[in-house]
């Protein structure tokens, strides 16, 4: 279960976003293109583009996803990551059981 995007985090983000909506009135409207001066356009770009990007990426994943050992021994995907030199093994951590 994901424990980090909690309700307080969401509320905090919402408060920041609400503040930035208010700050939209401080803009001086000096964009290069006329649509840049539309109210809250950058809020919409950030929110919508992010959502669409993730949904498209999930769709792409359906098409191109393969098992980790797809390329067999000719790739590093199913190999363990190497330690970083001779002192790595004894200092490396291990997950809890």
């Amino acid at each position: 279960m994901n424990t980090y995007i909690t309700k307080p985090v969401l509320i905090g983000l919402a408060v920041i976003c609400a503040t930035l909506v208010g700050a939209d009135f401080l803009r001086d409207g000096h964009g290069y293109f006329s649509f840049e001066n539309w109210p809250l356009i950058y809020c919409a770009i950030g929110f919508v583009v992010y959502g669409v990007l993730i949904i498209l990426a999930k769709g792409l994943r359906v098409l191109i996803e393969r098992p980790e050992n797809y390329y067999g021994d000719l790739a590093i995907d199913s190999e363990p990551e190497p330690g970083m030199g001779p002192i790595a093994p004894e200092k490396s951590g291990v997950p809890h059981d």
């Binding site: 976003c17 939209d24 803009r27 929110f47 970083m84 490396s92 997950p95």
Partner: protein, 564 residues
């Protein structure tokens, strides 16, 4: 010979000495001094061309110092220092020597005043960087090294043929602005494109960078691709084709990065995306755009190294860079987390961080040149950067799903160098004019206007809100072990399979043909055997009388015919 001791020679000389220094600490300390010595060798020199060397009929210009080469020399020196410092604990002499040769070759290429010198150093970077991947010494890494090396050599070959044709056409090998008006310049352009990871030539990057050692990847991330950016800026600034190539480069990797499980490959896609911004700037080619490209390359080398170092530190402690295996490390690696977040904020172009003051130059230059669709592509790509490098990288390692890791913080030398890179990211973000003063063209640009800061924060925080909601409603892509196919599938699976099928059918056809031919030959041999074999009519021993009789008959027939 040369009349000046070049910085690249300092690196090569150090690389020759390093294997003979037995004490590991002394060796590491010696290596740390090399970037300082290299930079000191050109830091105070006046701009000009210094080292000339006769080579057949050419007079090679090995060291050209101007605004463009100076800043790339500076950033490569910083990158060399960061990567050497991060590899402080490394004892592998192959990796140490390779990293010095690689940095020296990249710096040598930046200062090359002619195409022949560029070619020599260009190949030097290819060989030395391949060894950094090979240094992992696993079967997968060795196979990856071969693929990587093939691409790098292909780039070198194209460059070589391009130089020959360019010389035939123009009678010059000067490395300066070129037009895409001949086969020679097109080949040189493609050679640069290979190293710059143009679309469909890009997969060596995502293939090789996760395969190197964790320290090797930090080194790799700085030089090859930024050398290609330098070469394009030097040779093809203002080439409109580059604007569209750059826009494509900035866009497509964000989709792959969003669903990639290996964090070093996520960063490789991110690198590809960042190169796209720089290529757009080169394509636009105005002084503001070129300054934007150079500024972006400068800050990018630092924050990308910082991100690769933070992932490297996590690999060091956990032995994995996979999203599906990581999470919850903030409790145990708080400093690494903090530095990683600084890198993420920088690459996402948050105000007060380095990416903000550099990327906005390119976006402004794109908008002011009237390329509205390209500008929109870059804005979309900026949101994509926030997604994979701003959020996914730190979130999946340090927060995300708590996998129960209980590890030590990264070692002090790693923390110190990550702290150094993070400090640079903040300082450049807070004092952008310091960076602007180093740029090759005079620039009067103020990134901190109310409009710019507000709109950037709106875009970033609303994107972050979208992320939080997607996580909350379980729409965000799930983490599990997998890989994603990219264009490399064509030469790693499709073409070998096509070759296998073709080989099979050619073999079958050959066998059928051979059997058919065998029969025909056998029949022909039988006919010959019948005539000439031991019992053959033509091989039989006839009595002399028979022969005389046949001669008489033939003469009789001839005589009869003569009277007709």
């Amino acid at each position: 010979m040369t009349d000046y001791f070049m910085p690249s020679l300092i690196y090569f000389a150090a690389a020759a000495i390093v294997p003979f220094i037995a004490a590991p600490r002394l060796r590491a300390t010696f290596m740390l001094a090399v970037p300082f010595a290299g930079f000191a060798s050109f830091a105070t020199m006046a701009y000009g061309t210094y080292a000339f060397m006769p080579f057949f009929d050419f007079n090679l210009k090995i060291f050209r110092l101007d605004g463009l080469s100076f800043i790339f020399g500076l950033i490569f020196s910083i990158a060399a220092f960061i990567s050497i410092a991060f590899a402080w604990h490394i004892r592998d002499r192959l990796e140490q020597v390779s990293s010095l040769v690689y940095a020296g070759a990249a710096i040598g290429a930046v200062f090359a005043g002619d195409l022949i010198t560029l070619f020599v150093f260009w190949e030097g970077t290819a060989i030395a960087s391949a060894l950094l991947i090979w240094a992992r010494r696993t079967p997968g890494a060795i196979a990856t090294t071969m693929r990587y090396f093939t691409f790098q050599i292909a780039s070198g070959l194209l460059l070589f043929i391009g130089i020959v044709l360019f010389y035939r056409d123009t009678g010059s090998v000067a490395f300066q602005h070129m037009e895409l008006d001949s086969l020679g310049t097109w080949l040189i352009f493609l050679a640069f494109g290979f190293k710059c990871a143009f679309p469909l030539m890009h997969n060596w990057l995502q293939d090789a960078y996760p395969a190197a050692t964790p320290t090797g990847t930090v080194t790799l991330s700085a030089f090859t691709t930024k050398l290609a950016i330098y070469a394009l800026a030097r040779g093809f600034a203002g080439t409109e084709f580059l604007i569209y190539i750059g826009a494509a480069m900035s866009l497509f990797p964000v989709f792959f990065a969003a669903i990639e499980n290996n964090l070093r490959r996520v960063l490789a896609y991110s690198l590809n995306n960042q190169l796209g911004f720089m290529v757009v700037g080169i394509g636009i080619g105005t002084p503001l755009a070129l300054d934007g490209t150079v500024a972006h390359a400068f800050v990018h080398v630092i924050y990308k190294a910082l991100l690769f170092m933070s992932v490297g530190a996590v690999i060091y402690r956990t032995g994995t860079a996979k999203v599906s295996d990581l999470g919850g490390l903030w409790k145990y690696m708080p400093w690494t987390m903090a530095f990683c977040i600084v890198g993420s904020l920088s690459i996402s172009a948050f105000p007060l961080f380095s990416g903000f003051v550099a990327k906005s130059l390119i976006l402004s230059a794109t908008a002011s040149s009237g390329h509205i669709w390209v500008w929109m592509a870059l804005v979309v790509a900026s949101v994509g950067v926030l997604e994979h490098a701003g959020i996914k990288i730190p979130y999946s390692m340090f927060f995300g799903h708590d996998r129960g890791w209980k590890v030590k913080e990264a070692p002090l030398p790693m923390l110190l160098i990550m702290g150094f890179a993070a400090t640079l990211c903040v300082l450049i973000g807070v004092f952008p004019q310091t960076l602007y003063a180093l740029l090759p063209y005079p620039v009067e640009y103020e990134p901190y206007t109310a409009d710019h800061v507000i709109t950037q924060l709106q875009m970033l925080f609303f994107a972050a809100l979208a992320f939080a909601l997607l996580i909350r409603f379980n729409i965000y892509p799930a983490e599990y072990r997998s890989i994603n196919l990219d264009f490399d599938w064509v030469y790693r699976r499709f073409l070998p399979n096509v070759l296998r099928v073709v080989t099979h059918y050619v073999t079958v056809i050959w066998r059928v043909y051979a059997r058919f031919a065998d029969r025909r030959i056998e029949r022909a041999l039988m006919v010959i055997y019948r005539a000439h074999g031991p019992q053959g009519a033509l091989a039989r021993t006839w009595p002399t009388g028979s022969m005389v009789l046949w001669i008489a008959i033939l003469l009789g027939i001839t005589l009869g015919l003569a009277y007709l």
